[in-house]
């Protein structure tokens, strides 16, 4: 598994690199000391995992994730509990408090591998270009959302609202930006404002103007415009 370490302290990077020598399955392929250099490393090297410090000279670790085209798996490393806990209030991968012990690192990596296996056996197609997660910062809260878990994406004003698991979050990006990251085999654009995950469809019924009305598993109704109805028929082989 390829790892990029992002930390502004050389000694802190050295410490992590040294610890990772105990784990032959993991290889450190790059180190960055600020958001800018980390961004280019991530976009060029497509690492599987980031060990990411929260405080960086030109922004925070969250800024980095927000700007990256590709969201790798992330383990935060921080000396400052408060910040880390705030980020993990909802759900994220894991975090390590500095100084990091080999035992604690081992646990965090084991947790990742468990998640990896569940993704692999889930038989869901994975968009290698964007990773399996989407990072969303909604005000104070940060979410790492698996694309599989997203049921519905909706345009709300200038933002996109994502419905996943039992909650929803707002991403301050355009719908076309988000659509590019989605796996086209899994997601379908029903109309100008809504994209759904095909795995969450409950029923499809004919609707006015040669369209469809889709009932999602959670009971939410989504209209499919006439233009998109034909495409949906092909996708679902109706």
């Amino acid at each position: 598994m390829n790892i990029v370490i992002v930390d502004d302290s050389r000694l802190a990077r050295k410490e992590l690199t040294g610890l990772l020598l105990n784990f032959p399955r993991y290889e450190v392929i790059g180190e960055a000391e600020n958001v800018q250099s980390a961004l280019s490393l991530i976009n060029h090297l497509n690492p599987t995992l980031l060990l990411l410090d929260i405080h960086l000279p030109d922004g925070s670790g969250f800024d980095l994730l927000e700007q990256a085209q590709y969201t790798p798996k992330v383990i935060f490393t921080t000396a400052y509990e408060e910040h880390a806990l705030r980020a993990f209030e909802v759900n994220a991968l894991d975090y390590l408090l500095k100084p990091v012990t080999a035992e604690r690192l081992s646990l965090a990596l084991a947790k990742l591998e468990v998640q990896d296996r569940s993704v692999a056996t889930g038989a869901q197609p994975v968009n290698r270009h964007t990773g399996v997660h989407l990072f969303i910062r909604d005000g104070e809260r940060c979410h790492f959302v698996k694309f599989d878990d997203i049921r519905l994406l909706e345009v709300v004003g200038n933002c996109v609202q994502l419905h996943f698991r039992d909650t929803k979050a707002t991403l301050a990006k355009s719908m076309s930006y988000v659509e590019e990251k989605l796996d086209r085999r899994l997601f379908f654009r029903c109309n100008r404002k809504q994209i759904i995950n095909l795995n969450f469809i409950g029923s499809v019924d004919p609707w006015v103007g040669d369209g469809f009305l889709i009932k999602m598993h959670d009971g939410k109704a989504v209209e499919v415009s006439r233009r998109q109805a034909r495409a949906l028929k092909e996708r679902l082989e109706l």
Binding site: A12, K14, E15, G18, P57, A79, P99
Partner: protein
């Protein structure tokens, strides 16, 4: 609690002196008026002593009511209650007084002691006179009580301020602990693999810094010399984090080394310079610390650093600086000040008395 108890005892003695003098004066005035109207006898003097004692008893009753029911109420509400309480008690007092005189004359008749003629007009006059005196007494007593209450509140306020300051200093210490301390430990951990001598020195610096933090007291001041030592240790540890990205110089007028400063003042300023300046620049920067006298009575303690690369989201910032400013004022009052100027460099200047 002891201050409060002695305060009450003190108030109580003051109260009894007030009562004694007030009603003694009342008694003497009554005698003067009686003589002016041509009445003068030992009996009359005695009767007026009884009147003064009755008044004293009634007003002592007022005091009891005040402490029992009135203390927490607004002055306006108390005054409204007095509107009916004062005339009523004046009336009852005069009825009691008249009854006592009547009984006295009946029980111990003697030549020259007569009841005279009872007139409603005269009685109403006595009641009104008594009411006026009671109003006068109440106004004085109420003012005194309210003033005392205010003074207690003010003293409590300052005591709370001091306690708050202590808590703030504790929080300040723990802030330094949580963020900086763990980074320092992490860096030293890596340094052990790289340079054992440097790691040993770093641990000694950390020990000096921790000792300084633990011993600092919010009320006392320390010599600048001690604060500089602490800051040098702090900077050495930050240098592990930032390496070549952090450079610093300390320029001191030797005679200022014994000047007094609030504990952790310089440390707070330097920490701010690093947290909001050096740490937020890809290339880091230079911190300049200087102490210079500006007049015969004042000197400047100054920390300069380059500004952050990106504008900060100002969440939670400024607390350390505000705290430092308040501690400076608590130590030196109006002779001191703290200002932050943001230009091409960020300059924090504390002005202190020599």
């Amino acid at each position: 609690m002891t201050t409060r108890e002695t305060n009450i005892a003190h108030t109580s003695r003051q109260y009894w002196w007030f009562q004694l003098i007030f009603w003694a004066v009342y008694w003497v005035l009554n005698l003067i008026f009686a003589r002016a109207y041509g009445y003068s006898s030992a009996l009359i003097d005695g009767v007026f002593i009884v009147l003064s004692l009755l008044m004293l008893a009634v007003t002592h009753g007022y005091r009891w009511l005040y402490y029992r029911y009135g203390q927490r109420r607004a002055v306006g509400v108390i005054c409204l209650q007095l509107l009916w309480l004062l005339p009523l008690s004046a009336l009852l007092l005069q009825v009691l007084f008249a009854t006592l005189i009547y009984a006295g004359i009946k029980l111990y008749p003697a030549p020259g002691r007569s009841l005279g003629t009872f007139s409603i007009g005269g009685f109403v006059g006595y009641v009104m006179n008594t009411t006026v005196i009671l109003v006068l007494w109440s106004v004085i007593a109420l003012l005194r009580a309210e003033w005392g209450k205010r003074r207690t509140a003010e003293r409590d306020y300052w005591q709370n301020e001091i306690r708050l300051r202590e808590v703030e200093l504790q929080i300040l210490r723990s802030q330094i602990n949580s963020h900086f301390l763990f980074n320092a430990l992490n860096n030293i951990r890596a340094l052990i693999l790289e340079d054992v001598q440097a790691a040993r020195q770093a641990l000694a610096d950390l020990a000096t810094l921790l000792r300084g933090l633990m011993h600092s007291d919010s009320l006392a001041t320390v010599p600048l010399r001690d604060e500089i030592d602490l800051v040098k240790g702090y900077l050495a540890l930050e240098a592990l984090q930032f390496e070549q990205r952090l450079t610093f110089e300390i320029v001191m007028e030797p005679r200022l080394l014994d000047a007094q400063v609030p504990p952790l003042l310089l440390q707070t300023l330097v920490e701010n310079a690093i947290k909001h300046g050096i740490a937020r620049r890809n290339g880091g920067g230079h911190v300049r610390i200087s102490a210079t006298s500006v007049s015969a009575t004042q000197w400047h303690l100054r920390v300069e650093n380059p500004p952050a690369q990106l504008p900060e989201d100002h969440k939670g910032s400024g607390i350390g600086l505000k705290n430092a400013s308040e501690r400076l004022r608590a130590a030196f009052g109006d002779n001191s000040s703290l200002e932050l100027v943001l230009l091409s460099t960020v300059t924090a200047t504390a002005t202190l008395p020599i």
